[in-house]
Structure formats: C-alpha cells, structure tokens
C-alpha cells in the first residue's frame, strides 16, 4: 500500500446537478425542522396518543443507529483483530458513523417534546437504570463523544504543518501547530481505549434498541415481538455494518469517479453470508420455538413485510455473496450490499412502525409531509456533509498504480 494517495479533491467540484437536488431536499428539511420548533409536534406531525412514535424514531433513530454500525464493525476488524488490508475503509466508515450518530442525536432532539431537558439523562438524580431507553441514551451520548475523538486524528492530519491563518491571526499559527502536535501524540497513546470502548458501547445500545420494543409487549406483532429482540438487533447490526461499508464505498467511488476498491470490499463481503446465517438462524429458531411461522401464511401486511425481510434481507444477498465471481463484480456486490441494507431498514420499520398496533387504533399512522421532509432532509445533510469532508479532509484513499 505504498502507492496510496489521498483523494485529489482539487480536481473535484462540490456541486453537481445531483448535489443541487440533494441541497434542495436538505433546505426543505431544515424549513420543516424550523416549523416543528415554531409550531410544535402537533402541527407538523401525524403523531397522536395511539402512535406516539413515527418515522423520526423508526427511521432517523432506529435505522440510523443500525446503518451507522459500519463504524464499530470496521474498528473491530481493522484495529482489534488487526485484519490486513482494511486500512482504506476505516476512515470512510468512521466518517459515516460520526455523521450518522450526530444525526441520530439531532433526530431524537427533533422528536422530544421537551428537547431542552435532554441533558437530564446525564444528571445522576434522574438516572433510571430500569429503562432500556436510558441505556440507549447514555450509550449514544458516550459513543458520539468517542466517535468525535476517533475522528480527531483526521482533523489533525488535515491541518498539521499546514496551519496558515489569515491576517492578524497569523501570530497564532505557531500556537495551533504546537496544539496539533500535542493532540497528535496524545491521541495515538489513548486511541486504543477509545476504539475498544466504541465497540463495547455499540454492542450495548445496538441491542438495547431491541429491548426497547419488548416493553411494548402485545402491541408488537408476534412475528417480531420476542424476548431475544435485543440479540436479533445486535446480530443484524453486525451484518448491516459490513454491508453499509460496501454500499457507501461503491457509491463514493462512483460519485468521485474513482476505481472501486473491489479487493477490500470483496474480502469484507465474505463475512456477510456467515453473519446472515447467524442472524437469520436465530430468527428461525425463535420463530419455531414460539410457533409464529403460522403468521407467515395469513396474507396480512405483517406477513408480507416479514417475507420482504427474508427475501431482500437474506435470500438475495446470501445467494449472490456465496459466489466468488459475484463478490468480485462491483455491480453484483452493490446489489447484495444494498439488499442487506434495505432488509435491515425494513426490519427496523417492521418492529417500530408496521408491526406496532395500538390497542384501540381507529386509524393507521402515516407520516405527515413535514415529517417526511425532516427525515429526507437529514439524510440529504448527511450526504452533503460526507461529500464536504471527503473533499476537504484526508478520508478517502485512491489507489494508484
């Protein structure tokens, strides 16, 4: 890997027609966000006492956390197991996780009725260890901090030896250089702890997001309501972590006109069928032990949604990734990774929304337009920020022969 170089961002323009569209969507989202804080939850959402949680929790939080799993999965394989040749995917995965979790936190903030009290979870007098949500909250707060610390070296690398403040601020150049040097040295010393901590915190809250809905007991359809929901959430996070890294790496290389890093990605993709078998194996054992397979053939919406999970989330990617020639083909690899990602998204939606039936439901929930706009806007902002960091910070390596 001697011939690696940082993506030459000077050659890239930030705005392309696609990026303009995404910018518009982001602006629309921010507008809706503004409306939410001015006019309140009732005015901009379809939430009510039957459906207190909508897409902001189901997509922004539940899917967001799952899809940001690439960060800790990459940290595990590259730093902890010291797997060779994964270096080039560490920083992109870290960037996705950092942005992903930042927007998970923002999503929560948007959804909270008394968002200004969010800091209460940090005060010991309010601590509630019985609450799975408390554990999720604490872990996400800690993990965001850990991710920012893990991200710092990228910032240091960007500016180390290049600090050049304009005008009057010039006198501080030396100071900042020394600060960066100190940061550089001290970060290298403590990073190990934060990398392990990040993996531990991830395992904790990825699973607790499943525990969360166990408390909703009979409101969740029997196809998904199981005491092992936390285990299933953790196992699916493992799968989607790798899939997401592949998915976004292929999109990034397409977007920046780079050669896809097929050798690393294909190597990474070998783990997916194994992890898929473990995940769906656990689902099947659970299904058989609770006799819930009966619901698979009743033609209901829930039953169809479960089939989607099986076909898109398991069968398609499993079959594709069993073959080496498909693993080495960017198109097939992309289809497989996208299927896994989509499958896990469907699963989170099933658990948090579609499989959720209030006791006295008189109408189903469908998100209001501003709700959709905020969710789409946040996703657009993640994409824009990813592009910004990819173009301005040493994140993506380009192979040069």
């Amino acid at each position: 890997m001697n011939n690696t170089a940082t993506l030459s961002y000077e050659k890239q323009r930030f705005f392309t027609p696609g990026v303009w569209i995404i910018t518009c969507l982001a602006a629309l989202g921010l507008l809706s966000l503004f409306a939410r804080f001015i006019f309140g939850l009732g005015a901009v959402t379809n939430l009510d006492d039957q459906y207190p949680w909508g897409i902001w929790i189901a997509i922004d939080v539940a899917c967001g956390v799952a899809l940001a799993a690439g960060g800790f999965m990459t940290a595990f394989i590259a730093h902890i197991v010291h797997g060779k040749g994964y270096k080039s995917i560490i920083r992109p995965a870290l960037l996705t996780a950092t942005l992903g979790y930042t927007f998970v936190a923002l999503g929560v903030l948007t959804d909270l009725g008394r968002y200004y009290n969010m800091w209460h979870i940090l005060l010991p007098k309010y601590w509630s260890p019985n609450s799975a949500l408390f554990e999720v909250g604490m872990c996400v707060a800690s993990y965001v901090t850990v991710l920012y610390i893990e991200f710092l070296p990228i910032v240091v690398d960007r500016f180390k030896g290049k600090v050049n403040l304009p005008g009057m601020l010039k006198t501080f150049n030396g100071f900042f250089e020394r600060l960066l040097k100190i940061l550089d040295v001290s970060l290298k010393k403590v990073m190990t702890i934060f990398i392990i901590l990040g993996v531990v915190l991830s395992c904790m809250h990825q699973s607790s997001l499943g525990t969360l809905m166990v408390l909703a007991s009979a409101k969740i359809h029997p196809l998904w309501q199981t005491p092992i929901l936390p285990l299933l959430f953790l196992l699916s996070a493992f799968v989607v972590g790798f899939a997401m890294v592949i998915f976004e790496s292929l999109i990034t290389s397409r977007s920046f006109h780079l050669k896809p890093e097929i050798s690393v990605l294909s190597r990474l993709s070998r783990f997916i069928p194994i992890l898929l078998i473990i995940y769906f194996g656990a689902k099947v054992i659970d299904m058989v032990s609770r006799n819930t397979y009966l619901y698979l053939f009743d033609g209901s919406l829930e039953s169809n949604m479960y089939w989607f999970e099986i076909i898109i989330g398991f069968l398609i990617p499993f079959i594709i990734l069993m073959f080496e020639k498909y693993r080495n083909n960017p198109t097939w690899l992309f289809i497989a990774a996208a299927s896994v990602v989509f499958g896990v998204v469907i699963n989170r939606l099933n658990v948090y929304l579609i499989g959720y039936t209030p006791l006295y439901a008189d109408k189903p929930y469908f998100p209001a337009l501003p709700e959709i706009a905020v969710t789409v806007g946040f996703i657009s902002l993640i994409i824009l920020l990813y592009r910004f960091f990819a173009l301005n910070f040493p994140v993506i390596e380009e192979m040069e022969n």
């Binding site: 001015i38 006019f39 309140g40 939850l41 009732g42 005015a43 959402t45 939430l47 006492d49 039957q50 207190p52 949680w53 902890i80 197991v81 010291h82 929560v108 959804d111 909270l112 009725g113 008394r114 968002y115 009290n117 969010m118 209460h120 979870i121 309010y126 601590w127 509630s128 260890p129 019985n130 609450s131 799975a132 949500l133 408390f134 554990e135 909250g137 290298k188 990073m191 190990t192 702890i193 392990i196 901590l197 993996v199 531990v200 904790m204 699973s207 607790s208 525990t211 969360l212 809905m213 166990v214 408390l215 909703a216 007991s217 009979a218 409101k219 005491p227 936390p230 006791l359 006295y360």
Partner: protein, 295 residues
C-alpha cells in the same frame, strides 16, 4: 498505538468503578410499596352511566369543563372514547347481555399499575410509583420522549402534542393531592351517586370484590380485573360480562416491565457484561498485534 498492560488494567479499573456506581442504583420500585396502599374498585353492575365522575375529574384537575347537567347527554356513548390530554377519565357504554338487558358502563382511566411499565420505561424517572398507590408524573423532569405511551399496556397516557414548548404527559393522578395529602376521596369516587367506585386499601378492596362475587354468583363473573393483570393494578373492576367483551385488554399476570428489566439487569448487572467484553476485546487486540509483529 499500543498501551502498556499496566495502563490498560488501570483504565479498566476506572471504567468499571464508574459503571458499577450506575448499576448500584435501586433496581425496582415494586419493593417499597406500602402494604396499605390505596386502590379503587369499580363495580360495573352499579354504574348508571351518569358521567358525573367525568365532570368532577375535569373540575379537580382544572381541565376544560362543561356544566354538570350537560353530562347527562348520552349521545357520547355512540362512540367508544379514550382518555385524552384534556380528559383523564371517560365512561363508555356497552350493551348489557346480563339480566336486565340495559347498558353496562365502563369508566376508563389510568389503572395505576403495581409494577408500571410506564415507570420502567421513563428515561429520567419523571413517572414514579408512589408507595401509597398512585403513578405520579413530574413534568419538570420529563424530556418528552413518549416512551411511556409506547409502554402502557392500557393505552392511557395522553400527550399535549399541540403544546409547542411545554407539552406534558397527562393522565389520572388518583387525586394524589386530595387522597394522600389531605385524606379526602378522589373526586370521581366522592361524586358517584351509586357507589359504583370504592376507594380504600387495595387489599381490602380485593376481599370486598371476592365477597360480592361469592355472594352473588349470578350477578358477577368470577374475575376481578386488575387483581393480577399486568402484575396487578391499583384500579380494579368487577363485572357481569367477560372483560374482553367490554373493551379491556387480555393481559398476562406479569408486568411487561418484568421481562425488560430482567433483560436489562441480566446484561448489565454490575456492568459485568460490558466490562468482560471490554477485557476480551483488549486481550484479542494484544494477541493479534503480537502475531502481526511476529510475522
């Protein structure tokens, strides 16, 4: 990127120390319930559907209200209503399949569970089980996550979605201020003209309920709803019709909170799980690093 073994162990010790502090917080609220805690028994065969309880509740809790005589309007019975953020209790009417062929009226409000899932769910302890029975809400602690509404097995807590800045979770308080703090009856119990709702120590109410059922087996079905449902509730019902026919959910005898709390504490007891994982990952990292260096 390596750190010394000693340093690593030190971090581990510090981490486990802080985390153990978190887990030593009291595990569950159920243990400190007062044995004489209050409850309410609702005898559906006595209720005439006058809805005076609705009026009294609105009055006491300073909720939007209408003149008392307007509550004799029975047209509201055409729909099955649920408590809202502006009405803590509502009476619904069902066709009485029993002896007199009239209506069977069901007053709905917070059940004040013995082991409330909403309390277990609450991320900041804004919802609490009072040792004397009521499930209380502290708006100033609340962050407005609405997980309590997800958790409630009776779909009771209502939220002020229209309130922009200070929305609250609203529900029956069991008239905490009147009953426990001032020795009065809950306002709905006080106004009830037929004594269809009785207030008193929960244990006594359970005996009364079973006495009535034994004395008049023709008048009641043999089921005290709330004695065991969801781990028991402070508010209980006796009826002449099966409860699943008159809008009550069929629930296990265990509180849903028991399962999630055992999952949570099973994984995180003394933070042994996370600490072990931290240690394991640390060891793997050391070993794999050494192997890499040896190559």
């Amino acid at each position: 990127m390596g750190i010394e073994r000693r340093e690593f162990l030190k971090t581990l010790a510090v981490a486990s120390g802080t985390l153990a502090g978190v887990s030593s917080l009291k595990a569950s609220d159920t243990t400190n319930l007062n044995p004489d805690r209050f409850g309410v028994l609702s005898d559906l065969t006595y209720c005439i559907g006058c809805r005076k309880c609705e009026w009294a509740c609105n009055e006491t809790n300073e909720l939007p209200n209408k003149p008392l005589d307007s509550f004799s309007d029975t047209s509201v019975f055409e729909n099955r209503r649920r408590p809202t953020s502006e009405q803590y209790t509502v009476v619904n009417s069902y066709a009485d399949k029993g002896l007199d062929g009239g209506a069977l009226n069901v007053k709905v409000q917070c059940m004040h569970c013995e082991h409330p899932p909403c309390v277990s769910a609450c991320i900041v302890g804004a919802l609490r089980k009072h040792p004397d029975g009521p499930v209380t809400y502290n708006a100033s602690a609340c962050i407005g996550c609405r997980y309590c509404i997800i958790a409630c097995p009776f779909q009771i807590p209502a939220y002020e979605y229209e309130n922009v800045l200070t929305p609250q979770v609203r529900k029956c308080t069991l008239c905490l201020e009147r009953t426990i703090e001032n020795g009065q009856l809950p306002s709905c119990v006080e106004i009830c003209p037929t004594e269809a709702i009785l207030f008193g120590p929960r244990e006594e109410l359970i005996s009364i309920a079973h006495e009535r059922i034994t004395k008049h087996p023709d008048r009641y079905i043999d089921h005290v709803y709330g004695e065991h449902e969801a781990g028991g509730t402070s508010w209980m019902y006796i009826s002449n019709q099966p409860f699943n026919e008159i809008g009550f959910p069929e629930l296990d005898d265990k509180s849903p909170a028991e399962l999630t709390e055992s999952i949570q504490h099973g994984i995180f007891k003394g933070f042994s799980g996370p600490i072990m994982l931290f240690g394991l990952l640390g060891i793997i990292m050391k070993v794999m690093k050494k192997e890499e260096e040896n190559e």
